[in-house]
């Protein structure tokens, strides 16, 4: 085996002790000559050791009694509707309700809310779902997609900042082809949230949903969710949650999300 024949897979197999004896010596020769590869191998080893060190203590934890009981004997009747599944079932029903609401539009949404009653209070909607529903409800509206239009941007900013209790400004996306249409105030899980709407030259609309309700969530990286036809990029930054929704493809939406993120970060 020449040095060129050492593949990425060989390096991993070397780290994981899954190379045959002969291959090991060749990888070692290769690493001796390739400091960059050797550094990566060291880093991968260190990762593995760190992971074991970090998670091995779980092995010594006392196992919760409920799990021990369940391991010891089968549940009396294996029935998905039984107690442990209750919360999940209601969650699924709730999620199904949201899908119906998306299809049925605002009327369906209101009916669902009434029908589901208190459950909505118990299960707070995740950010991407809230944002996607808001997008589906308002973005197709021809006559009144926003409450305050972009020609009154100053007022919009002042109003939303006041209602959300913190400065909120719509990012400028003109450079990447999206112009602000305006914005509106919406009810979130526990208070007001803001929605900004943009469109491009072809009329394609996207919405940026901004909440200040994230008291418990840690910051996240970019996440992607798909709600029916709507793609959503969302992230949490301090108390702010942001979700960018549109019926455009993921790559294009990622481009816009990057621009939004950069502006929010450098304001």
């Amino acid at each position: 085996m020449s040095e060129q024949a050492i593949t990425e897979a060989d390096l991993h197999a070397y780290v994981d002790g899954q190379l045959p004896e002969t291959g090991r010596a060749e990888v070692e020769d290769y690493l001796a000559a390739q400091p960059e590869a050797a550094a990566r191998v060291r880093a991968f080893r260190a990762q593995r050791d760190a992971l074991r060190q970090h998670y091995d203590p779980v092995l010594d934890e006392e196992i919760p009694a409920s799990l021990r009981r369940l391991a010891a004997k089968p549940p009396v009747a294996v029935d998905a509707k039984k107690q442990p599944f209750l919360s999940r079932w209601s969650l699924q029903r709730f999620a199904a309700g949201v899908v119906i609401a998306v299809i049925g539009g605002a009327a369906g949404w209101l009916g669902h809310a009434r029908y589901q009653g208190g459950e909505q209070m118990v299960h707070m909607s995740p950010l991407p779902r809230q944002a996607a529903v808001a997008h589906v409800v308002y973005s197709p509206d021809i006559r009144r997609p926003v409450e305050v239009t972009a020609d009154q941007e100053d007022q919009l900013v002042k109003w939303l900042s006041k209602r959300l209790g913190t400065p909120v400004t719509p990012p400028k996306l003109g450079a990447i082809g999206y112009e602000l249409i305006g914005g509106r105030l919406l009810p979130g899980n526990s208070g007001p949230v803001a929605q900004f709407m943009y469109h491009d030259a072809s009329g394609q609309r996207l919405t940026l949903y901004v909440t200040t309700e994230n008291t418990t969530n840690r910051d996240t990286g970019f996440r992607f969710a798909k709600e029916g036809p709507v793609n959503v990029f969302y992230w949490v930054d301090g108390k702010f949650g942001y979700a960018l929704s549109a019926g455009i493809d993921k790559g294009e939406l990622a481009r816009v999300a990057t621009a939004v993120y950069d502006q929010l970060e450098h304001k």
């Binding site: 990762q47 992971l51 074991r52 799990l67 294996v78 999620a95 995740p126 993921k250």
Partner: protein, 166 residues
């Protein structure tokens, strides 16, 4: 299936679930669901076959179902899909010491492969069988996952398309 054999596997199932899911309660819920499904499908388990591998693949399938559940339908971002915007804020840097949060920033499918290899010490073909994917896919996910984790832990969060040299 022998219940004492099942009990023996519990600590490892919990360790893997914890590393995969992050949150302790959610991880134990996943273990509980795994046990319930294992009992309900006990007829499918062949005596003498590898119980651990069977349980891990049940857990994997449950996790896939969970991630597909409506409303929580978040998809892992593949590096090649598009340039993933970088997060490099001050607060992120403070968390770098936390391996768990670094791990959480890997796409789930890369995390699963990395954990099965690194923590469970599974052979690549066992990982492939457990996750129901080809060995080649195991290798590429392992490679991408390790490289990504390395960059995150180095404080250089992977930003644009990450090229892994083969």
């Amino acid at each position: 299936m022998d219940s004492s054999a099942l009990l023996t596997e519990l600590p490892r199932l919990r360790r893997y679930a914890r590393a995969l899911v992050g949150d302790r309660a959610a991880a134990d819920d996943l273990v509980q669901d795994t046990l319930e499904r294992a009992w309900s499908r006990v007829a499918q388990w062949r005596q003498g076959s590898d119980l651990r591998a069977w349980l891990f693949s049940i857990m994997h399938n449950l996790r896939v179902d969970q991630l597909r559940r409506p409303g929580l339908n978040t998809l892992p971002m593949e590096d090649e899909d598009c340039a993933v915007p970088a997060r490099a804020t001050q607060s992120d840097r403070l968390e770098l010491g936390d391996l768990g949060s670094a791990l959480a920033r890997l796409p789930e499918e890369q995390r699963a492969v990395l954990l099965l290899v690194a923590i469970e010490e599974m052979r690549y073909d066992e990982v492939a069988a457990t996750l129901g994917i080809p060995v080649g896919t195991v290798m590429s996910r392992l490679s991408r996952g390790r490289e990504r984790l390395r960059l995150i832990l180095d404080g250089r969060p992977p930003s644009t398309n990450l090229r892994v040299v083969r």
